[in-house]
């Protein structure tokens, strides 16, 4: 019984740690995924949902494990995107185990300054 429960735990989907920030008319989402290669990563937009699906490969080794703290397996994260984001202009970059998604806001939604006319 115990063994079955343990297997289940290892199989659960991982969720990458994220950071969401807004800067100068853009929303920047950063996701930590060390050891994930570009070919194992898929980013898709369906309707108003942005989904990041990927897989972290288990390191190929034949030795004895002395310490095992890192996790691997499939991971997924879904964000529902607000109407103020321009879905056609989403940009993604993977570098040093960090995925950076840049979601530009539509011009109408960007914060802007309103000048005051003097009478």
């Amino acid at each position: 019984m115990n063994e079955i429960a343990k297997t289940e735990d290892r199989r659960r989907t991982l969720v990458p740690a994220s950071q969401v920030a807004e800067t100068e008319g853009k929303v920047v989402v950063r996701l930590e995924m060390p050891g994930v290669s570009q070919s194992d990563l898929e980013i898709r937009v369906e309707g108003q949902e942005l989904t990041i699906v990927g897989k972290r490969q288990e390191p190929a080794t034949h030795g004895t494990w002395l310490l095992r703290e890192r996790n691997w397996g499939d991971f997924q994260k879904t964000y529902s995107v607000d109407g103020s984001i321009d879905l056609d202009k989403i940009d993604a970059e993977l570098s040093q185990g960090l995925l950076t998604l840049t979601l530009p806001m539509k011009d109408a939604a960007k914060p802007r300054r309103i000048d005051i006319r003097s009478a």
């Binding site: 991982l14 969720v15 290669s37 030795g63 002395l66 095992r68 890192r70």
Partner: protein, 160 residues
């Protein structure tokens, strides 16, 4: 024969030794599930080590391999040193968002930042002169070779 009178064989449950690591791990998993916490690799649980990178160590015939998850770090942010069989990984994880307090807003941050240092005791058989390290996709991989006398070797036996 008092020594043999323990009838543990009929109680398979009692035969198992108390495994504290797994016990707490399972407790933490339950706890995380209750609160809807998810982790990758481990970020927000009750007993989580959240202020240092997750590390894997594997011992093979030729030596030891150490992997450490250091997403977003640069090569120059990490300092490695080895003394006898103790490997020390030192570094600083900076926040990847350059937050400008006037203009920018940080909505959510599950990542950790700060300085870290981890010393790992590797098996005595490792040779501190045979260390190599590489850095790829936010993972630091350190390979330490073994001393020649600890490597398994074939001794041919002549049959007469």
């Amino acid at each position: 024969m008092a020594i043999l009178s323990w009838k543990r064989a009929s109680y398979p449950e009692a035969q198992r030794e108390f495994d504290s690591t797994n016990f707490f791990r399972r407790f933490q998993d339950d706890w995380d599930r209750y609160f809807g916490w998810k982790s990758f690799p481990e970020i927000s649980g009750l007993f989580d080590r959240s202020d240092s990178p997750a590390v894997d160590v594997v011992e093979t015939e030729d030596g030891c391999t150490v992997w450490a998850d250091v997403p977003g770090l640069d090569r120059k942010d990490i300092e490695l040193s080895i003394a006898a069989n103790v490997l020390t990984i030192k570094g600083e994880k900076k926040s990847s968002a350059k937050v400008n307090k006037d203009k920018d807003r940080l909505y959510r941050d599950e990542t950790w930042t700060g300085s870290f240092q981890r010393s790992l005791s590797l098996p005595d058989s490792v040779d501190p002169d045979k260390v190599s390290a590489e850095f790829r996709d936010g993972v630091l991989k350190v390979t330490v070779g073994k001393k020649a006398e600890h490597k398994p070797r074939q001794i041919p036996v002549a049959v007469r």
